[in-house]
């Protein structure tokens, strides 16, 4: 019994330590982020931020778009199969439009970015630790948080909401394609209906969620990289851990935000 309780206590303390580390790292990076801003910050950090934006955003564009098209199509098909029985096929438009803007756009993007870039952050920083590059930055009087972490955070914060918009657009367009082939509803009418359905609240809710998801992905990815101890095998473990933990935390955060928006009447 004592061993069981010891185990529970130990795991709880480890998780608390992890959450504490996430918070400290987030706060430290936010304080260092000024240097990565354009015009007012260090131009080399801004250059690194743009490079990260290309890697996180532009390179992920085809994948996010394809995921959104497939999911939009699936959502429309599943919705239509039930709504058709009640003669309410028209509601598929609302289902897809609201579902993507509030929920699926940011969530799908977060899952794609977590798999692509969260793991890449962990692998890059972990390798830098193993090969003493982080130490060499420190001895050259560079702050690794400002040099390595802040550009990644800023890039994620800019790019993930943009990718979410892309995901929304492609998901909704996929719904439009379905509606065209199943009910011969014209694209212009479809888009008009979509725009009447979506409210500013939905857009803002999706935007807030995508900012939160970007923060989670960057924080977890970077922390997992910084926690690497040992050799290349530890880098592999940290990469897996970054994807698993960030995806899990994104879904938890999503459920918290959704509940918050629902109960506060924002939806």
């Amino acid at each position: 019994m004592a061993t069981f309780l010891e185990g529970v206590g130990k795991r709880t303390l480890n998780q608390l330590d992890y959450i504490g580390s996430l918070n400290i790292q987030w706060w430290t990076t936010m304080r260092a982020m000024g240097a990565s801003l354009p015009f007012v910050g260090n131009r080399y950090r801004w250059k690194a931020t743009v490079h990260q934006m290309l890697e996180i955003g532009v390179d992920a564009l085809p994948m996010v778009a394809l995921m959104a098209i497939c999911t939009g199509f699936i959502l429309a098909l599943q919705g239509a199969s039930e709504l058709r029985r009640f003669g309410a096929l028209h509601y598929v438009i609302e289902l897809v439009a609201v579902g993507f803007t509030r929920e699926l756009g940011p969530l799908l993007t977060a899952i794609a970015v977590s798999g692509r870039s969260g793991s890449a952050f962990a692998a890059e920083i972990g390798t830098m630790k193993v090969t003493e590059e982080i130490d060499s930055l420190r001895v050259m009087a560079f702050d690794p948080v400002e040099f390595v972490l802040a550009p990644k955070y800023l890039a994620a914060l800019i790019v993930v909401p943009c990718l979410s918009v892309v995901s929304n657009v492609f998901g909704i367009l996929a719904g439009g394609v379905f509606m065209y082939f199943s009910t011969h509803l014209g694209f212009v009418v479809y888009i008009r209906d979509v725009l009447t359905t979506i409210t500013l609240h939905d857009v803002i809710a999706g935007f807030i969620k995508s900012l939160a998801f970007a923060t989670i992905i960057a924080t977890v990815g970077c922390l997992e990289g910084l926690r690497v101890r040992g050799g290349p095998d530890a880098v592999g473990r940290s990469t897996t851990s970054a994807v698993v933990r960030s995806t899990f935390l994104v879904i938890v955060a999503d459920s918290i935000f959704t509940a918050l928006f629902y109960f506060t009447g924002a939806y």
Binding site: Y44, E132, E133, D135, S136, V139, A141
Partner: protein, 267 residues
């Protein structure tokens, strides 16, 4: 005043004492070799001298500044006067060799790009890599990487240069070339040099004084001649390459015989 003063340095990891009350003075222009076996604490001492870690107790003074207690601004100024060539070279793989060397110059000085270019070329010429500036670190051999790391360590004209295991993983000819480079730096730039190694020929070639570590404490500190003529048993054992334990053929045979009697081996 000594360039480096280590006073009563105690370092503990998880309650295990790694360095036990070390005292050491390194004078301006001196080449000090930290010699010792694996796990003796020489790399840990080095990490404390360059300010990468904070000790449990004791002080490390660099040019009179206690780097265990100084402010961030003081630490930054101390770091500008120290160049470090890491064991793994720790070059940034995403940057070319010349960009690696230019990095501290671009960020810590206000020099014009043409002057930086000239300085980078000069530093590369010192380490005989003048034609390799455009290459990426992964395109260099092990010895070339180490020399490029030396060039980067020299970028800001430091007063102190530190080498962590410079000969590790190199063939004897390349290792000897690095020894000559260290001697050249001392002669030409009048630098204070600290070298961590367990290579005896290299230590006796480059050292003014040698400090020998064993289980986190200094066994002896002295000139090459004093170390060579030392009567301390552990020092003699290290110099004469006497093994701690010898694998005996009878013992191996007995273990094998015992294993053959186990049910696992019989099955």
């Amino acid at each position: 005043m000594a360039m480096i003063s280590v006073r009563d340095l105690v370092v503990e990891y998880d309650g295990r004492k790694v360095l036990d009350g070390l005292n050491l003075d390194i004078e301006q222009g001196e080449t000090m070799v930290l010699l010792g076996g694996s796990g003796s604490g020489k790399s840990t001492l080095l990490r404390h001298i360059i300010g990468l870690e904070r000790p449990k107790s004791g002080n490390v003074l660099v040019k009179g500044i206690d780097i265990t207690r100084c402010s961030e601004a003081e630490m930054k100024s101390v770091r500008h006067s120290i160049g470090v060539a890491f064991q793994s070279a720790a070059l940034f793989n995403s940057l070319s060799v010349e960009d690696n060397i230019a990095l501290p110059l671009r960020e810590h000085t206000k020099l014009a790009p043409s002057i930086i270019e000239l300085i980078v070329w000069m530093k590369l010429a010192v380490v005989d890599l003048a034609d390799c500036g455009k290459l990426l670190p992964q395109e260099l051999s092990g010895g070339m990487k180490k020399r490029a790391a030396v060039a980067r360590a020299l970028a800001l004209d430091p007063e102190l240069i530190v080498f962590d295991e410079p000969s590790a993983g190199l063939d004897p000819i390349v290792a000897a070339e690095l020894d000559e480079l260290i001697l050249l730096l001392k002669q030409v730039f009048q630098m204070t040099v600290i070298v961590v190694t367990h290579e005896l020929p290299s230590a006796f070639r480059i050292a003014d004084r040698i400090a020998m570590l064993y289980q986190g404490a200094f066994l002896t500190i002295g000139t090459k001649e004093e170390i060579k003529s030392s009567k301390i048993p552990r020092v003699r054992q290290f110099l004469d390459r006497e093994p701690e334990t010898t694998a005996k053929a009878e013992a191996v045979a007995a273990h094998f015989h015992k294993y053959l009697q186990t049910p696992e081996a019989k099955s």
